[in-house]
C-alpha cells in the first residue's frame, strides 16, 4: 500500500480527503466516527524509522485537523499512536527485525493483524476523545465514544484489507 513515494503521497491525499470531506460531513451517529486515516500510519512499512513515523503521523493528523477545526487534536492522537506502533507491531510478529514488510493480513495473517490494529486504534481514539472532552465529568461520554470509534474504525480497516486483497 505504501511502497513508493508516489504511492505514499497518493494515499496521504486520498485518506485526508475521505476523512475531512466525506466522513466528517456524514453525521450518522453522534458517537462512532470512523477514523479511517489511521490506516496510513498503520500501513507504513515495518522498517520505517521512529522519527519518520512520528513526522508522517503528525502531518496527516494536522491535515485532518484543518478540516475538522481541531488544530492539534488529531495530530496529538496520531503521534501517540506513532510512539506505540513499533512495540505493538513487534508483539504480533515473529519475524526478524531486519525483515521489512507492510503490515496487513497477507503479511501477518488475519488474527495477528487484528491484534495489532485493535490496540493501536483504541489508543488513538482514547487519546483523541479524552483531549476533545478535556473534562473528567464527561468520562462516560468519552468511554462510549472511544469504544464506538474503535469498533467502527477497526471494522472499516478490515473491510478495506479484504477488498484490497481481492484485486
Amino acid at each position: 500500500m505504501t511502497a513508493t513515494w508516489v504511492d505514499k503521497i497518493k494515499w496521504f491525499v486520498i485518506l485526508v480527503l475521505i476523512q475531512g470531506v466525506i466522513i466528517s460531513q456524514i453525521q450518522v451517529s453522534r458517537y462512532a466516527v470512523p477514523l479511517l486515516y489511521v490506516v496510513f500510519i498503520l500501513k507504513l512499512s515495518s522498517d520505517t524509522g521512529r522519527k519518520a513515523l512520528l513526522l508522517y503521523s503528525f502531518l496527516i493528523g494536522l491535515c485532518v485537523d484543518l478540516f475538522a477545526n481541531t488544530p492539534g487534536l488529531n495530530a496529538t492522537a496520531s503521534i501517540w499512536l506513532a510512539m506505540a506502533r513499533p512495540l505493538l507491531l513487534r508483539w504480533q510478529t515473529s519475524r526478524d527485525a531486519s525483515d521489512s514488510f507492510i503490515p496487513g493480513i497477507k503479511s501477518m495473517r488475519l488474527w495477528p493483524y487484528i491484534r495489532y490494529v485493535l490496540p493501536c486504534v483504541l489508543l488513538h481514539s482514547a487519546v483523541l476523545n479524552t483531549i476533545d472532552a478535556f473534562s473528567i465529568a464527561k468520562i462516560s461520554d468519552v468511554a462510549i465514544a472511544t469504544i464506538a470509534d474503535t469498533l467502527v474504525t477497526v471494522a472499516f480497516i478490515i473491510i478495506i484489507e479484504f477488498v484490497g486483497r481481492k484485486k
Binding site: S24, K51, F58, L66, N69, G72, A75, D141
Partner: protein, 299 residues
C-alpha cells in the same frame, strides 16, 4: 561520552515526540482563544474550497427536505402578508393613529414543526441586511462544534455578525477569511446568546453543554419568571448581534439548579444542525451611536 551520545541518538525520537506534542498543544490551546488565526480552521481558503465542492454535491441529497422547509417558510410569510394587509385595511378605514401591537402572536402548525410568528416589527426596530450563505463544513458530534460558510470579508461578513437559518438561530461569526467565515454555532459550549420566553418576555442565556445537538439550555432565568412547557424561546434583541424575535426553540422541561436566584430551562432547538445547508448572515447597522451614548452615560 560515547555512551551519552549513543544514549541521546537512541532516544532522540523521544525528543522529537515531545517537540511535536508541544506544537500540537500550542495549536490546541491557542485555538480556544476567540481571536486566533483563521488559517488552522475549515474556513481557511484551502480547506474551505475543497469542502465547498463536496458540499455542492451533498446539497442535492437534501433538496427534498429543503423544499419542505421552503414551503413551510412560504406559508409563514403568506400569513404574515395577510396580517399586514389587514392592518393596512384597518388604517384606510379612517384610523390614522399609530398602530402599536404588543404581544401579538400567531402560531402556524404544519406537519413537522411549529413556526411561531414573531411580533410585528415596531418603529423601534433597527433595519438590517441579510446575506445568504451556504454551509461548506459542519460538525455536530463534538463538544465544541463549528461550521464554515462560503461568505467572507469580501462579501462584507465581519466577526461578531449573527447567523440564522429558515429554522431559527444558528450562531455568531467568529473568524473570517477573504471568501469564507467560521461560525460559532449554538451547539458549541462557548456559545452564549441572549434570549427570552416569547410569551412572558423573561430573559436568559442560551447555552449548550455537549451531547444532543437538538437540545440546549436557557440559563439565568429569574426565579419568578413565568413559563409553560411548550413556550417558544426567541432572541431578546439585547445584543448587537441579533434582532428581537428570531425563533430559538421550545421549552421542554425545567432543570433544577442550586442557584437561588435563577433556574435553567431545557430547550428543544428549532435549528437542526444535522441538515443545515442554507443560512443567512445578519448585518445590523453599526451601533457606534449607541456605543457612544453608553460611554457618555457612564459616570
Amino acid at each position: 561520552m560515547r555512551n551519552i551520545l549513543d544514549f541521546l541518538i537512541k532516544y532522540s525520537h523521544w525528543a522529537l515526540f515531545i517537540l511535536l506534542q508541544l506544537i500540537a498543544a500550542i495549536l490546541l490551546f491557542r485555538f480556544n482563544s476567540f481571536q486566533g488565526s483563521v488559517w488552522f480552521t475549515s474556513a481557511s481558503e484551502v480547506t474551505a474550497s475543497v469542502t465547498k465542492v463536496a458540499a455542492e454535491v451533498t446539497r442535492y441529497f437534501g433538496l427534498k427536505q429543503m423544499n419542505r422547509d421552503l414551503t413551510e417558510r412560504n406559508i409563514y410569510l403568506m400569513q404574515q402578508l395577510e396580517y399586514y394587509k389587514e392592518l393596512v385595511g384597518e388604517n384606510e378605514h379612517g384610523n390614522d393613529s399609530l398602530i402599536v401591537i404588543q404581544g401579538m402572536q400567531k402560531i402556524v402548525r404544519t406537519d413537522s414543526s411549529v413556526v411561531v410568528m414573531k411580533k410585528p416589527p415596531t418603529l423601534m426596530d433597527r433595519s438590517f441586511v441579510v446575506c445568504p450563505a451556504r454551509v461548506v463544513n459542519i460538525s455536530v458530534r463534538r463538544f465544541d462544534n463549528y461550521l464554515a460558510i462560503d461568505k467572507g470579508e469580501s462579501n462584507g461578513v465581519r466577526t461578531g455578525m449573527g447567523v440564522i437559518s429558515g429554522m431559527g438561530v444558528v450562531g455568531i461569526v467568529c473568524r473570517t477569511s477573504d471568501n469564507y467565515s467560521l461560525v460559532l454555532p449554538v451547539i458549541n459550549s462557548g456559545s452564549s446568546i441572549s434570549c427570552k420566553i416569547a410569551r412572558t418576555d423573561y430573559f436568559g442565556f442560551l447555552k449548550w453543554e455537549g451531547g444532543d445537538p437538538l437540545t440546549a439550555f436557557m440559563t439565568d432565568v429569574p426565579r419568578h419568571a413565568e413559563y409553560e412547557i411548550g413556550d417558544t424561546v426567541v432572541t431578546s434583541g439585547h445584543s448587537t448581534v441579533f434582532i428581537e424575535g428570531i425563533p430559538v426553540g421550545k421549552v421542554i422541561s425545567k432543570d433544577e439548579s442550586d442557584d437561588e436566584m435563577s433556574f435553567t430551562l431545557e430547550i428543544s432547538l428549532f435549528t437542526d444542525f444535522g441538515r443545515l445547508n442554507d443560512v443567512y448572515v445578519m448585518a445590523l447597522p453599526p451601533r457606534e451611536e449607541l456605543t457612544e451614548l453608553e460611554k457618555d452615560i457612564k459616570y
